[in-house]
């Protein structure tokens, strides 16, 4: 009898714990899966197709000696009503690197991306009044001989 009670209780506790952990995860999970990412990738491509050259800063090295770590900085903090920022690397297998949604932050992002080969890097800034892009070619040298 005791054992039965113990089992019942432990099952109850575990199920509650699982529920809580799932409950805690929902806000992130609601936005987190690969299909969502593909959707964002398509959205970025749509943004790319009808975007115009924007007045913001895209900082990227002209020559990256190591394609595994290419620093990228996007500063669009003086543009009004920036909603999202995307980093798009045309020659990568998965071209969309990152998609940031700006809610209560400045439109300033720095990160480091991976690049398979020399490619055009496009920063896409989506604002209330349309999308803006800026391109930069980053050369990736494999042998480290300066290309």
């Amino acid at each position: 009898m005791n054992r039965r009670l113990f089992l019942k209780q432990s099952i109850a506790i575990t199920s509650v714990a699982t529920a809580v952990s799932f409950g805690l995860l929902t806000p992130i999970k609601a936005f987190a899966n690969t299909s969502e990412f593909k959707e964002l990738s398509k959205k970025t491509q749509r943004q790319l197709s009808n975007a115009q050259e924007g007045e913001f800063v895209l900082k990227a090295p002209e020559i990256a000696e190591n394609g595994a770590m290419v620093p990228i900085t996007i500063d669009a903090s003086h543009m009004p009503a920036v909603k999202n920022i995307a980093i798009y690397v045309h020659n990568n297998k998965v071209p969309l690197s990152a998609y940031f949604e700006i809610l209560e932050a400045s439109a300033f992002i720095t990160t480091r991306i991976k690049m398979a080969e020399t490619s055009v890097v496009t920063a896409v800034v989506g604002t209330a009044s349309g999308s803006f892009i800026r391109n930069k070619t980053v050369k990736v040298t494999l042998g480290g001989c300066g290309g």
Partner: protein, 101 residues
């Protein structure tokens, strides 16, 4: 070793948030020496909060570098609480919160 590091420093009305995460960020396209595909294991989503309000969020792919680094700028002052969360494709979450300096 902490898996995630955060620095928040306020200056002239803005907080600069720097985050460094220790993560392999395998995209699932790479092969190891024996020719086997290294399984996908990368961070998919990030959330940045200030004083429990969402400041920015991001969806990222496997083409962010290993041990990813991010820098954000949020309007705010010294003493604001900065919270950062990440989740990877295996469902593992990492989180950290700090009071801005």
């Amino acid at each position: 070793m902490a898996k995630i590091k955060l620095k928040a420093k306020s200056r002239a009305g803005f907080i600069t948030v720097r985050v460094l995460i220790k993560h392999p960020m395998e995209s699932g396209n790479r092969k190891d020496k024996s020719g086997k595909i290294v399984p996908e294991n990368h961070i998919t989503n990030l959330i940045l909060k200030k004083n429990n309000r969402l400041a920015a969020k991001a969806a990222i792919g496997g083409s962010i570098s290993e041990n990813p680094f991010f820098q954000f700028k949020i309007p705010g002052v010294k003493g604001d609480e900065i919270r950062f969360e990440s989740i990877d494709n295996l469902g593992k979450t990492l989180q950290i919160s700090k009071v801005s300096k």
